[in-house]
Amino acid sequence: MTDSAALLNKHSFVELGARQRAKALLDEGTFRELLDPFQRIISPWLLRQGVVPQSDDGVVIAKGRIDSLPVVIAAIEGAFQGGSLGEVGGAKIAGALELAAEDNRNGVPTRAVLLLETGGVRLQEANLGLAAIADIHSAIVDLRQYQPVVGVVAGSVGCFGGMSIAAGLCSYLLVTQEARLGLNGPQVIEQEAGLDEYDSRDRPFIWSLTGGEQRFATGLVDRYSADDVAQIRTQVSQLLHAGVPAEHRSGQAELFLQRLGRLDTDVQIEPAAVRRLYQGERP
């Protein structure tokens, strides 16, 4: 294949909306959306604050199959309110994961895929968003006892706040170069800690610390993919087939405490220092 033909064959995943992403990952003809937009389950809190709600509250829940495996996909729409989670969107994700775990207890091996484009809690629904995220954490830990929960951070919003903790609970994580994964958004860090600590306008600096490539190089995610629908689909399928990992990343407290104990904190951190600390001498 010539380069231009390869380019024409490539389909960007990042530029797809949440619903298209879910469809793109599922086997042809198996996509079935739950609580679709026509049911108009909207946020009860946004209108009274002068924010126009969306009829799916920015979260798409779809059941279907990936290479014949039964899955439920929860896809967050990064274009609606920055992918922030309010009461309804949060409950959709938590509820879907809870039902998937129940499936497994009843002998149906439902897996879950989370498409994460989110700034975290929707501040207009603050404490209900936070509560929903705690429910999501609980449901991931429950479900992943039985089957993998695969998290995908494709970009361009990235995954932050309480949902970055949810990402950290997933059995496996896949990212692209466009992705960022971190607890605190750059603006908030700059506000809380100052410009010297974190310059929110310095994009290369931010990507060098929290971008997909660095997260993969430091072992904080499992897979790194090009922004290509076919490649992402193949890798998600492989992770779903891999079964439950022997040890979850979030269960490795001793290992991470040992690593942090070796860190020289007299100097400010550099991306290369994190790679050395977390991956030893491996390239």
Binding site: E87, E125, H137, V188
Partner: protein, 267 residues
Amino acid sequence: MTSYSLRGLRWFEALSGGAKPLEGLPASLKVADLELAGQNMRLLAVVADPDSRFPRARNGEVGLLEGWGLAKAVDDAIEADRDAPHKRALVAIVDVPSQAYGRREEALGIHQALAGAADSYARARLAGHPVIGLLVGKAMSGAFLAHGYQANRLIALRDPGVMVHAMGKASAARVTLRSVEELEALATSVPPMAYDIDSFASLGLLWETLSVEQIEQPTMADLARVTDCLHQAIDEIAGAPRDLSSRLGAPHRAASSQVRQLLREQW
């Protein structure tokens, strides 16, 4: 800077009554095992460590060491009680101003450290440990998700200094493009946006709120009241599901139940 809260430490000291703290944990964690009226429990508190190697986590914030350290302390209890018929209760004393905001924290994956803590608390609950969050001060955002929010039951002391929220007021104002005054005005009509504990209780997320005499330095009567409440919570947990469903049902959180019901019908 000595502006950090001492509430978590004071309540830990009062409740632990001189029990020897566990060793081998970061200095910002206070963890001790004790028996209170026949019930084994492990108390866990995050406290300020002004000498922390991580400068952005010196005022009681939940940072890298705190997240992974909590995970270790909880894992240790799960392992020790693996075959025990009665698993010890885990009581998270919550007085956490925020997660740590810093360059090292992001670079080294503070999200993963906090996931470690949330993971361990959730696994402990699923394994049958009664897990209780006792809110004596601030319970903010990611810090609360890592330390307390995975509990079977949440108990809050009624005091203006006991606050639950997703973000501090100044940052929340900036992110939502409002002034702090506008934010406070909205909070009076939108319960999930408020910072006070009674608004939080109206969402159905708390199991109990308790009034005490001296929240900064508990009296003997305060201690007795809280201890009694912990026992009631442990008794109730024993016969209840191990999930977080007890938090559903309040009128201000009706949509959370409605969404779950519709999902179940369409599943």
